[in-house]
Amino acid sequence: MAGSVENVYSRALLEIAAEDGSMKELDEELDALCGIFSANPELTEILCAPTVTDEEKLSLIKTVFEGKISDTALNFLCVLSEKNRCRYLQGIAEQFRNGYYESAGIAEATVTTAVPLKDDARERLRAKLEKKYGKTVILKEKVDPSIMGGMIVSSGGSMMDGSVKTRLENMHKQIRDMVSV
C-alpha cells in the first residue's frame, strides 16, 4: 500500500487530468519522467538537496523540461520540488496509473514468454483478455527463457500460469506428494 503522500499527489493529478482530458498523455509523461529520474539519480539528489535553493531547483527543472513536457507535468514537478517530495515521483506515477486505468477501464497485464510474442498471438491474447476482464487491456511483455515455454499472464492480483517450468514444478510436487511416507 502506497503511503499517503503518493495518494494525495496522485489524486490531485488525476483530478487535473480528468478536467482537461489529458490522462493518457499525463500517464505517458509521468512514465517518461520516472525513466529519466531513475536513469539520472543525481537529478533527484539535487532536487532534494537542502543546500540548493528553491529558485535554483525551479530554474533547473525549467531548463531541462520546459517545452518538452506539458504544463501540467511541469507544474507538478515544480510543486514536488518546492515541497521537497521528488523522491515520491515513482510512487505517485504508479498511483496515478492505477487511478487512470481504473477510471478509463484499462487493465494492465504482464505477459511473460520464453520467446518474443508474435503479432497475431499478441492480438489474440489481448482480445481474449479484454473479453475475460471486460476492460481495455494493455500488455506489458517480458521475455524470460527460464520459463521454458508457454506463458504467464498476471494482472492486478490474479495470475494465469501456463509455463512449462511451472508444469514441471507441479509435476515434481505431485511426485513428491505421491511418494511421501
Binding site: T113, R124, K128, G149, G150, G162, H172, I175, R176
Partner: protein, 169 residues
Amino acid sequence: MQFNFEFFSIEPSTIIGVLLNTLILFLLFKKFLFAPVNKIIEERKAQVSKTYEDADAALEKAKNMENEYAEKLSAAKEESAEIVKAASKKAQLRSDEIIAQAKSEAQGIVSKANADIERERKRAVNQIKDEISDIAVNIAGKVIGKEVSSDEEQERLIDEFIGGIGEDE
C-alpha cells in the same frame, strides 16, 4: 571303821542359810547377769530379724524389678517388631516405586527410540524418494526442454494457452 559324819550334819540353820544364800545369789544374778544377757540376746534377735526383713524386702524389690524389666523387654520387643515391620513396609513401597519408575523410564526410552527410528526411517525414505523425483523431473525437464526448443512447439504452447483463456469460467 570310823566315819566322820560331821560334814553330813543337817543343820536347819545351815539349810536356811544356804537357801538364803542361793536366793540372794539368784536375785543378784538375775539383776546383774540375766538382764544384760537377755538384752543382748533380744538385740541380736531384733538385728537378725531386721536382716531377714531387709533381705525379704530386697528380694521383693528384685522380683518387682525383674517383672518390670520383663514387661519393658516385651514392650521393647513389640516396639522393635513394629519398627521393623514399618521399615520393611516402607522399603517395599519405595522399592515398588523405584521399580515402577524405572519401568516407565525404560518404556519412555524404548518408545522414544522407536519414534526416532521411525522418524529416521521416514526421513531416509523421503530423502531417497525426493532424490528419485528430482532425477526424474530433471530428466523430464531436459527432454521437454529439447522438445520445446523449436519455434513451432513454442508457438503451439502459446496458442494452446491463449485458446484456454476464459474457457475455465
